[in-house]
């Protein structure tokens, strides 16, 4: 690891990532079943950004109406899940912690599935309620897990993970139950359970992106506290951190990010685990660097994962969760093996 100040590390890696992001947007808008040349895609994007676009060419429609919203959605979902994962790992001093291991994502999943069963199709309540119910599901599960792990006013890390595992099993059962009674919506739910960025129109993103942006920024601002919290809650308190307050705030924000991300794109695994691990390996454990870089890096990662999902077996589209799992598991195994040595 390069021995430079954390803000220098943050600056240079962010610069690189923003460059990568632009490159990814241009390349990934060009890729797809209907081929658009990257130069043409760039031209359309340039015109779109500066409002000089006047001809509704096929390329312009494909790029700005179909691919760009999906890429933006992928970026936001990837950023939210990665930032939440990075924060939870530091907060719980456990490299295995992420929205899924804590059961929060399954809570959100049950909330979303419930809305799909009760309000099938694109009804008004279905559109408006789904992110809200997903968040509520995530929050309730989060609170339940938190309460379950709270022994005599003290939150034990091991019990928290255990409680998350228990809630995960229970929520899987609830999801299976919802699947059986869903009837004709079963297909939609299954597709969504595997993670899919093609489920939501751009208006959803418009409503929910403020939550995601604010949530990620809040996590970024508490990097210093997260660093200290990795030394245990007792030590953090003795170093002047208001442990209980900050812990609750960060858990709430991470839950919010998860709930919204799940409502938008279903359950996409491994991002919250893989991206922070990779960033930590390259840039060190400082959360002031880790969280922002994980957020942007996670966004770029999901853009490419989704591009792979829709181009690999085109015209058949894979659920993006399948792609992240196929990319994530070997990487995770490699990480585990090398870390042991």
């Amino acid at each position: 690891m390069l021995r430079i100040n954390w803000y220098q590390r943050l600056f240079w890696s962010m610069l690189l990532l923003v460059f990568l992001l632009f490159l990814s947007v241009i390349v990934c808008t060009a890729l797809g079943s209907a081929s658009v040349a990257p130069a043409a895609a760039f031209k359309v994007l340039f015109q779109w950004v500066f409002g000089t676009e006047d001809v509704q060419t096929t390329a312009a429609v494909i790029v700005t109406r179909i691919r760009l919203p999906r890429i933006v959605l992928a970026f936001f979902v990837g950023a939210a899940l990665s930032a939440a994962g990075a924060a939870l790992q530091g907060l719980l001093r456990n490299p295995l912690a992420e929205p899924y291991t804590l059961g929060v994502a399954s809570g959100a999943a049950v909330g979303t599935a419930l809305t799909l069963v009760i309000f099938p199709g694109d009804t008004f309540w279905g559109i408006l309620g789904m992110p809200l119910v997903a968040f509520l599901g995530a929050l309730l599960t989060g609170i339940f897990v938190y309460r379950l792990a709270l022994v005599e006013g003290h939150l034990a890390v091991e019990t928290l993970i255990l409680a998350g595992v228990i809630m995960n099993s229970f929520m899987s059962a609830v999801l299976s139950f919802l699947l059986t009674i869903a009837g004709e919506n079963m297909h939609q739910i299954i597709y969504w359970m595997m993670g899919n960025l093609n489920l939501r129109g751009s208006e959803y993103l418009l409503y929910t992106s403020p939550y995601l942006v604010v949530g990620v920024i809040v996590l970024c601002l508490f990097g210093k506290e997260l660093n200290i919290l990795t030394f245990g809650e007792e030590t953090a308190g003795q170093l002047g951190v208001s442990v209980e307050r900050i812990k609750k705030l960060l858990l709430f924000v991470a839950t919010l990010l998860t709930g919204v991300a799940v409502a938008l794109a279903g359950t996409i695994g491994f991002i919250g685990l893989i991206v922070p691990h990779l960033v930590r390996l390259l840039l060190g454990p400082d959360h002031r660097v880790l969280i922002p870089v994980s957020a942007v890096g996670g966004g770029v990662f999901l853009i490419w994962a989704d591009t792979l999902a829709r181009t690999l077996l085109a015209p058949v589209e894979l659920p993006v969760g399948v792609v992240t799992a196929f990319l994530g598991v070997p990487f995770f195994v490699y990480l585990l093996r090398t870390r042991k040595r």
Binding site: K224, I228, L239, V241, G284
Partner: protein, 444 residues
């Protein structure tokens, strides 16, 4: 120096669940103190420290910092006043040493701010002081236990506290590092830092602390200067162990020694033995005999001499005289009375001068009463006689009265062993067979 109270504990009780750890502790810690907390396992030492750090909230009672309830402080304000060096630092992520020490600056920083130049200066100073500046770019996970201890110590110093709390600060350190760490603490203490530290090692605690607090079953059992707390009878009650407390030959602080078992069976011969000794000549023998199970008394011993300290530590009855004073009438009589109660009297190989000649003269009434008396190593008596021949003269006159001789202290042990095997061991000995031979005593 103004001795205001920096930390005050008022009737504090603490428990983990149903298990009560502290039961009504009252304590005042003056500013600038170096207080050592000692006590057996599970006495509540760490709990007391955590209560002082406001990490644990007492179930009952209040802790005051400079007259203000600890619970009223924000965590950030408190971290500027009190810092803690934990016993086992939690280490999870590979932060660099410098980053870890800079975390000690957290309470002094504004929210969402960068580290200032001052933060770096304070951190560097703390790291220089605790000897981990050369490790600054190393990753915390790669360090040894002792190196981590220094890093955590530097982090606590970077907080620039008024009070430093340490839980077994020398836990992971080797001998030289222990000394170094404690010397640093002593210097900081001299500069005005109040230090409260839990110690496992009683001798280190006695060496460096100006006050010791002995905790036992959640209560203060003793508090005071090291010599007031580290007394054999107090340690026996709390640790259920016989110890020897002597003064450190260089510093004069009390030092506690454990008494290892002899690995031998105890005697079943209920003999009462009296040793006339002094100046450290009898210390080892007193220890051996007591642990063998004999009833031992000794005299006349000058107070604070080595034999006296050992005898006192082992609960041996002693006829004593003031330090460095000639044996007076009162001490002589006391010695005689103790000796009269004994079955066997041993006069060990002590040098004789004018001052302690009564320790030889005491044999006369004893021999006349028919007591069995033994003088050790008579051959070298001339070398030990600083009374211009008076002692030698006395000894030869006592031969007539039945004084017997033994070559050395091992001979005493052999004699006592033989003794157990004979029936009439306690029959009063007449003096008739003894003056001819010096060493013919084993057959009794």
């Amino acid at each position: 120096m103004v001795s205001d109270v920096v930390l005050k504990i008022l009737d504090v009780e603490c428990s983990y669940g149903a298990h009560q750890v502290l039961r009504g502790v009252n304590l005042e810690i003056p500013r600038g103190a170096f207080l050592g907390i000692i006590g057996p396992n599970a006495a509540g030492k760490s709990t007391l420290l955590k209560t002082l750090a406001a990490t644990l909230k007492p179930v009952r009672g209040v802790v005051f910092f400079s007259g203000r309830d600890l619970a009223e402080f924000s965590r950030q304000d408190l971290a500027k006043k009190i810092s803690v060096v934990p016993q086992e630092p939690v280490v999870g992520f590979p932060f660099s040493v410098l980053d870890v020490v800079l975390m000690g600056r957290y309470p002094h920083q504004k929210r969402f701010s960068f580290e200032s130049k001052k933060d770096f200066q304070v951190a560097e100073k703390a790291m220089q002081l605790s000897g981990c500046w050369h490790l600054r770019d190393r990753n915390l996970l790669e360090l040894s236990g002792g190196e981590r201890q220094r890093v955590v110590f530097a982090r606590a110093l970077a907080q620039e506290p008024e009070v430093l709390l340490l839980d077994e600060p020398t836990n992971h350190l080797d001998l030289a590092s222990q000394l170094e760490m404690l010397e640093i603490l002593r210097n900081l203490n001299k500069q005005g830092l109040t230090i409260v530290a839990v110690f496992h090692d009683l001798n280190l605690a006695a060496q460096y602390c100006d006050r010791l607090l002995l905790l036992h079953q959640g209560k203060i059992f003793a508090i005071g200067k090291p010599e007031e707390v580290l007394k054999p009878e107090i340690i026996k009650k709390v640790y259920q162990t016989d110890v020897l407390v002597v003064r450190h030959p260089l510093t004069g602080t009390p030092q506690v020694f454990l008494l290892p078992g002899l690995g031998e069976e105890k005697t079943d011969v209920p003999l009462r033995l009296h040793l006339v000794c002094g100046g450290g000549v009898g210390a080892s023998l007193i220890g051996q005999l007591v642990r063998k199970g004999y009833t031992v008394s000794a005299g006349v011993l000058n107070i604070n001499d080595t034999d006296w300290e050992v005898a006192k530590a082992l609960g041996v009855e002693v006829a004593e005289e003031k330090p460095f004073s000639p044996i007076g009438r009162q001490a002589f009589v006391a010695n005689l009375e103790l000796a009269m109660k004994a079955d066997l009297i041993f006069l060990l190989e002590i040098p004789f001068g004018k001052g302690n000649l009564p320790n030889l003269e005491v044999l006369e009434p004893l021999l006349e009463a028919g007591k069995r008396c033994y003088l050790l190593n008579p051959e070298e008596l001339p070398d030990r006689d600083y009374t211009e021949g008076q002692a030698i003269e006395l000894v030869s006159s006592f031969k007539e009265l039945g004084l017997k001789f033994l070559p050395d202290q091992q001979a005493i042990m052999r004699l006592l062993e033989e003794w157990g095997k004979e029936e009439d061991v306690l029959a009063p000995a007449a003096g008739e067979r003894t003056h001819s031979s010096l060493y013919g005593e084993q057959q009794g």
